[in-house]
């Protein structure tokens, strides 16, 4: 059997279609490559996979019958990690799942299962951090606006949290790394893509864009943050462990402007 490389559009639907085709055509897959990335294997057949809703749903249905709901979440979250080679690891796990009669998604002694569980944990941590560190700023047109730049593609899985929390205010969370945002207009959320002005910043209250009161609330928050510190207990190691430096940019209380 010839080795096969699958190329797909990078979506979860596309990935599931890859799995379907792999089983249907009995392919010996050596690599699954998302759009925009080069394949590593040279001497193998390259298949261009076209995302297919029906195929994807069939794989999903098959999986649901063989894994717990946590297992299913882990597969989705691990996929969002965008880690290089994650598709093959997932494929390895999915093959192990389909080849067994019992549910095996908790078999942590299997290397792919443990790997997926660990990477899903990392994605979960990033999701939680975004839910914690997102800072909204009130714009002139009454939208609470926040910029994120997460390590993993967590925007799709944080929407629910913000929607149930901020049901009575318009908000927009924009991922500048992936150039896509989620906008809530008081009834529904939708994905938006836009050009942001360069000087909008992650914190600060440029009056061209933001409500005049905005900057004062950031200052009050910083004031609060500074007063709540206990100097005789300072422990910067622990501090940085909780808020790694790459997240400081989100936190207006840690910025020097005020």
């Amino acid at each position: 059997m010839q080795d096969a490389v699958l190329k797909y559009d990078g979506s979860f639907k596309g990935f599931l279609t890859c799995i379907f085709d792999a089983y249907e055509q009995k392919l010996n897959i050596v690599e699954i490559v998302p759009a925009g990335e080069d394949q590593g294997q040279l001497f193998s057949d390259t298949h261009q996979i076209i995302s297919d809703e029906l195929k994807a749903l069939r794989v999903l249905k098959g999986l649901k019958a063989k894994v717990s709901s946590t297992g299913m979440t882990r597969i989705k979250w691990a996929f969002l990690s965008e880690a290089p080679g994650i598709e093959m690891k997932l494929y390895e796990m999915i093959r192990y799942i389909f080849s067994n009669k019992q549910k095996v998604d908790t078999d942590y002694s299997h290397s792919a299962v443990l790997y997926i569980s660990n990477i899903a944990k990392q994605v979960g941590r990033e999701k939680h951090r975004m839910e914690a560190f997102v800072r909204f700023r009130l714009t002139k047109d009454d939208i609470y606006f926040a910029i994120i730049e997460p390590d993993f593609n967590v925007l799709p899985i944080i929407i629910k949290h913000f929607k149930s929390r901020y049901a009575d205010q318009k908000w927009l969370i924009y991922d500048i790394k992936r150039r896509i945002g989620a906008y809530y207009d008081l009834t529904k959320t939708e994905y938006v893509s836009m050009e942001l002005p360069e000087d909008i910043g992650i914190s600060g209250g440029n009056l061209e864009y933001f409500d005049p009161g905005e900057i004062y609330f950031q200052k009050l928050w910083k004031e609060y943050f500074d007063s709540t510190n206990i100097k005789s207990r300072v422990n910067m190691r622990l501090h940085v462990q909780h808020v790694p430096k790459r997240y400081w940019k989100y936190l207006s209380e840690k910025s020097p402007f005020a």
Partner: protein
């Protein structure tokens, strides 16, 4: 809003509230079902961390730091010469809402110095909570302090708006309380606590029968004890703590290493180090008691009154009970696995799951993430390699200390050099 005035008040009243350790925002079940603002049905979220590594989850402030009491351990005591300030009810409401909408906080933690009378103070705290719930449609987290000596009716009302109520017992022993807070009576602390506990039980029973029963303090009660202010033993502290967990259904007991703030001769002098290592060991003991199935009498008793500072309380216990080990990882009950040093709650669950599929060896255990360097002396697994040397407990302890990294090494070494 007059930002400058608010800023000054915030500065004073946040500074005075920071010695309250609790910042938990979890455990409530308040959903955003009315298309209002906020939801506290999920897990707690820390939105920031102070430089001392504590979580910032709630806007933690005092309504006022005017106080008629003179408790020696407290910054807001009457005799202390500090700036005093007071928020208006509406100011606290506005600040909470503006911070919440920006995703700075999970909610409000409101405490207060006692002005005029306990009831008068409690009434104001309730007003803030009521306004937030009724006028602002706020479903975020509200933690109110139960003011010692407040009446039963007020405590009943408080629980209808708050997610959590807490009274800080502060001093773990009655004699200590008499020494440091002569105006306060032990009973004043216990009365509101008991009222809240009884109401929680009653509301729970009713909601079983009638679904629409309003929520009463769904995140329960907590309390806090100061550690290292009155020469109490670890046993004293943890026995009081066990008492509160058992008899008052406490959700949490917090331990706060005393931060010297006063020149009062009854207290440790200013500049004395905050007992952070001891505090950490107490929390570890608390966890063993709540999640690992230990009875407090196993960990601390008349012949063992102080926790070992060099090693964690579980390892310390295991070293005193070598006859129970080694355990076979592939056979032992979950309850027993939890007692192995170096194996935590999550690893225990993973081991129990994974061993259904195959016998586990050292490589599996390493990958699952247990602390092999401690655990290996207490377990056997599917491998010929055994790490059970015939060491005495004291020798074993030294081996483990030498081969492991403690974040407290710096704090430990000066103490050790005394001997």
């Amino acid at each position: 809003m007059d930002f400058d005035r608010i800023k000054e008040k915030l500065n004073i009243l946040a500074d005075a509230a920071k010695y309250d350790v609790s910042c938990s925002s979890s455990g409530s079940k308040r959903k955003n079902s009315n298309k209002g603002l906020g939801d506290s049905s999920g897990m707690g979220i820390c939105h920031s961390y102070t430089q001392d590594g504590r979580c910032v989850s709630l806007l933690k402030i005092l309504l006022t730091n005017h106080c008629i009491f003179d408790c020696a351990y407290c910054v807001t005591r009457k005799s202390n010469d500090i700036k005093r300030a007071a928020f208006k009810v509406q100011e606290v409401v506005d600040l909470t809402i503006s911070f919440y909408r920006r995703n700075y906080i999970e909610g409000l933690f409101l405490s207060s110095g006692i002005f005029k009378s306990p009831d008068h103070t409690m009434e104001r705290l309730i007003q803030v909570a009521k306004k937030l719930r009724k006028e602002e449609n706020f479903n975020g987290y509200i933690h109110l302090k139960s003011i010692p000596g407040a009446s039963d009716e007020l405590m009943r009302e408080a629980g209808l708006y708050a997610d959590r109520l807490s009274v800080n017992i502060e001093i773990p022993t009655k004699s200590g309380l008499k020494l440091l807070a002569p105006d306060k009576k032990h009973e004043d602390f216990m009365k509101p606590m008991k009222k809240v506990k009884d109401e929680i039980i009653q509301y729970k029973q009713e909601s079983k029968l009638i679904k629409s029963t309003p929520k009463y303090a769904p995140a329960g009660q907590s309390t806090q004890m100061i550690v290292g202010a009155t020469g109490e033993s670890d046993r004293d502290i943890m026995y009081s703590s066990a008492f509160f967990y058992k008899n008052y259904n406490m959700k949490r007991v917090y331990y706060s290493g005393y931060v010297p703030i006063s020149t009062d001769p009854r207290l440790p002098a200013i500049g004395t180090q905050v007992p952070m290592l001891r505090e950490n060991r107490l929390y570890q003991t608390d966890w063993l008691m709540r999640f690992y199935g230990f009875d407090i009498r196993e960990l601390l008793n008349d012949s063992f009154q102080h926790l070992d500072m060099e090693v964690d309380p579980k390892l310390s216990w295991a070293l005193r009970n070598r006859h129970l080990f080694p355990l076979d990882i592939n056979m032992a009950d979950k309850q027993l696995l939890l007692r192995v040093p170096g194996i935590g709650l999550k690893s225990t669950n993973k081991i129990v799951q994974a061993r259904k599929y195959r016998k586990l060896n050292w490589q599996h255990l390493q990958k699952i993430g247990i602390a092999i360097n401690r655990a290996k002396y207490f377990i056997t697994c599917d491998s010929r390699e055994k790490e059970l040397k015939d060491l005495t407990s004291e020798q074993l302890k030294q081996v483990i200390i030498k081969t492991s990294q403690s974040k407290f090494r710096k704090e430990l070494s000066p103490q050790l050099s005394l001997f």
